[in-house]
Symmetry: C2
Subunit: 536 residues, 2 copies
């Protein structure tokens, strides 16, 4: 007998995600059912359980997971409207051959589905809506007290961030051993490294993670969840349990979380600091996640000192840590050409004032590095590490100056008329992105220019085309239209540049962190491509 | 009967390479013998011919090549002193089972053997002598008139360059069709695309290449020979002959040139501009060269717009074209971490004044980009493209201002006390290379500093250690010792830096292109490594 299940939650409610009765489920929302099965022995090891879902000729296999107390759950994300039938498979008769059906209805306007790679270097939601990652980092937020978690969600609500990176397993820290933050629940059965049973998971621990992922989903925030981390300091042994435990943990995570449309799989943070794991181990875990996730959520891994080979086919995008890459737009543009995938600079140091130099950026520098990533044709992830408010660790409140500026940049990116921003003439230029001939976002970084001569690389340009320009103060968040309309001609004696026919410049305030936005308002003569090899 | 052969040459003499009678050959020099065999039919296709060379338990198989007029040649580079025996194998009785012997004697002091990858990111000669590539580019020099070739060799003699990149097959140009530079010999039999026989090579063409490679060898210059190129403009069809012709050409080149100790295999120039060849075709050619070359000379490929995956195992080093990489030291340091191989920036635009922007660098800019590559822990290759002296195309004379400065840099690199220069604290710093604690080369590029505060990253440093410094003017080529000796202490309140105990600075002339050379003269207290994860 299949009973539709109301899940117990620690502090958030699932109800909003089940706004429809479970016989009707929105596309890309969660359909979930539970069965009672054997609880004796070790259900995590001894029992296989999955369901095959069918909608016409569209078939998806979703593994189930054991949730304790004899309860077995299948959590499914329908990705096609219409009637779905399902039937379970198990090596236990109570869980085998159980059938059911439900109807997948139209997604709500705010529900765009999972994020996918689009146009090689960028992203889109599955419904085609544009998605530009402006993420933040809150590694340990799921493991804080209820009030802090609520505060984090409140902060995110009014933040510019649409992706959150966090750990599925906390780092070892004294605060989790003693005092108010003492952890009483862990991913495995047991209370400390002397009595872990790595063959048994702890459902209560994952119910908390369930609700954290769901709360982000409700806010439209992608959950860039990190499966493995090196921060164990030899205490708990979670990062030295061996590849078989790693595999079973990854498989349980995929069975439990793949149905959340906002999941991104981050195989690890700073993977090369886990010294007992090889690249082959990571390849193996990537392939396992790829095989078990019926919805093919995004997959990456976050490097430390040794850089994983992001060209491998199971990596969907680059999740980089390399601070110098974002010190100018050049770095991200190069990474695009090397990897041929979206570049997300997921750790660029953090705005803050802690003793460690990786947490000492000014708000200006954090904003500067984010702009550089975008002008390079990629993306960057925010982090904040003030002594007074260690957001990257525990969440809570944001007190830095960069989030507002990152929000300002996000508006500029999302409101641009050409969609994805690509580096322009990027083998020679290094401060402009947009679309040749149509739209140019030119960033001057730390230069203090008092003017910019109206000169653009020729590709896509044509004599007589007309352009308007806005002066952008990326720090003070102002956009000032330039009164003049610019009409372009080829630069005399230069085969590579176009200029304004009056040789005009745009006056700038001789301050750092200025940018220009230039957009076409009238076509010129037909463009001819001379097909020359620019690299010869 | 085996006769020791004296080869006819077009304009240079082989004699110097046979300073010893052929029964005695220097280690890493060339032992060559010829046999008379069938000339009817197509010897290039119908006849297999190779020799197995044995010295104790050291065995090398060297393919032979057909040289026309019934002459079959085996060209061998002994890499071990002592008695070598050889026996030929062929599907033709005249060429099969011929035996011989010779003695490999000690290499002359100037003869260091082939260049190998060393210390992951660098190079050494096989005898262990340091080799730092400071190359230049003379794509078409072998295809010019005799006097021009001689002039090129004379120019190289007095130049700072120890590697030359050039094409094995000329590009299609009008000059090679008509006038004094009209090419009368081609790599294949025939005179134009209507009558090429791609199944037959033209020995006269390769005899010229033989002598060009040998002349470079005599000068101690590595021959970075480019097997394939896209510059055919649809005229000769050399780049559209198909993979089987590509394979037979590569195999003939390896059989003919592998015995030259100074050969580097560059599979192609701007390979992605050869639109009818796939990455799989290049993989196939790499593997063929790797398999047929008994001496395992260096192998790379030079990219254009699409970057080949240099992590592939048959690539020994990175031969890059990406101008922005060398606009700061950051780029080369990142490429080291991505590829884990030596980085040679083989095309960084050229010093010159031609109409194409890739040939418009000032001498200052060419020198600047070369310094950036070195400070990034890699290397760069020079090129010069003045209208008055198109060195990169035809050789001849150098009229630019960068070669002298590159020679000055080469002396600094070769005379440094620590050997290979590695980027220092390179996740955070980006203008210093050397060896922590021992030697620092700090490059200020286009900055116009009037002083440099004596501050170094802590790794390898210890309280009380003493340092001396030289001020280097990289453009005017002066080295000025600083009178003071600096004694270091940890910077108060900073866990990452050491400073001079008197808080000293070094006065600089507020000009661009200045550098500092800092070296230890006395040890300090014992260094403790706190093992912190700098990337966390």
């Amino acid at each position: 007998m299949i009973k539709i299940r109301v899940q117990l939650l620690l502090f958030f409610s699932f109800v909003s995600s089940f706004a429809f009765a479970q016989n009707k489920v929105q596309k890309w929302e969660i359909f979930e059912f539970a069965l009672q099965g054997p609880s004796e022995g070790n259900p995590y090891v001894g029992t296989t359980f999955s369901a095959r879902f069918t909608n016409g000729d569209h078939v998806l296999d979703q593994e189930g997971f054991y949730d304790g107390n004899g309860t077995y759950i299948v959590r499914f994300m329908p990705d096609k409207e219409g009637a779905w039938n399902y039937v379970t498979s198990s090596n236990k008769s109570q869980l085998n051959g159980k059938k059911g059906t439900f109807e997948c209805i139209k997604a709500a306007p705010t529900n765009h589905g999972p994020v996918r790679v689009s146009d090689k270097f960028h992203f889109k939601y599955e419904d085609g809506t544009a998605y530009y990652p402006f993420g933040t980092t809150i590694y340990e937020w799921p493991f804080q007290e209820e009030s802090k978690k609520k505060q984090t969600i409140e902060t995110l609500k009014s933040s510019p961030f649409n992706k959150a990176r966090f750990l599925a397993v906390p780092p070892y820290k004294d605060r989790y051993i003693d005092g108010p933050n003492k952890l009483t629940i862990f991913p495995f059965e047991g209370t400390n490294k002397d009595n872990w049973d790595f063959s048994k998971f702890n459902p209560v621990y994952f119910k908390n993670l369930d609700s954290c992922v769901m709360e982000l989903k409700k806010l439209g925030i992608e959950a860039d969840i990190i499966l493995f981390r090196p921060y164990d300091k030899g205490k708990w042994g979670f990062d030295t349990a061996g590849q078989e435990v790693n595999r079973s943990f990854a498989r349980y995570m995929v069975a439990r979380y793949a149905a959340f449309s906002n999941i991104w799989w981050s195989l690890a943070n700073e993977n090369s600091f886990i010294k007992n794991m090889s690249d082959e181990d990571w390849d193996d875990l990537f392939k396992l996640v790829q095989q078990k996730d019926p919805y093919h959520h995004l997959r990456s891994i976050h490097n430390a000192d040794k850089i994983y080979d992001y060209t491998k086919p199971w990596v969907t995008h680059v999740s980089y840590q390399y601070y110098n890459v974002v010190k100018s737009p050049i770095g991200t543009a190069i990474l695009r050409d090397i990897y041929g995938k979206p570049i997300v600079n997921d750790e660029n140091n953090y705005e803050g004032d802690i003793d460690s130099r990786w947490g000492q950026l000014t708000g200006e520098e954090m904003t500067f590095r984010t702009w550089n990533a975008v002008i390079g044709g990629g993306y960057a992830t925010h982090g904040e590490s003030y002594k007074a408010s260690p957001w990257i660790s525990y969440g809570g409140t944001l007190i830095g100056t960069s989030p507002a500026r990152i929000g300002f940049l996000r508006k500029i990116v999302e409101s641009n008329p050409v969609g994805n921003l690509e580096p322009i003439d990027h083998f020679f230029e290094n401060n402009m992105a947009g679309k040749e001939g149509e739209f140019y976002l030119i960033y001057f970084g730390k230069e203090n220019l008092n003017k910019w001569d109206f000169v653009l690389p020729k590709k896509g340009l044509a004599k007589g085309a007309k352009y308007k320009a806005d002066i952008i103060d990326t720090w003070n968040m102002t956009i000032t239209p330039v009164a003049k309309t610019f009409e372009i001609i080829q630069m005399p004696g230069n085969n590579y540049k176009f200029i304004d026919k009056d040789n005009s410049s745009i006056k700038l305030p001789a301050k750092p962190y200025m940018a220009l936005r230039i957009y076409k308002v009238a076509d010129g003569e037909k463009v001819l491509n001379d097909g020359r090899h620019e690299l010869e």
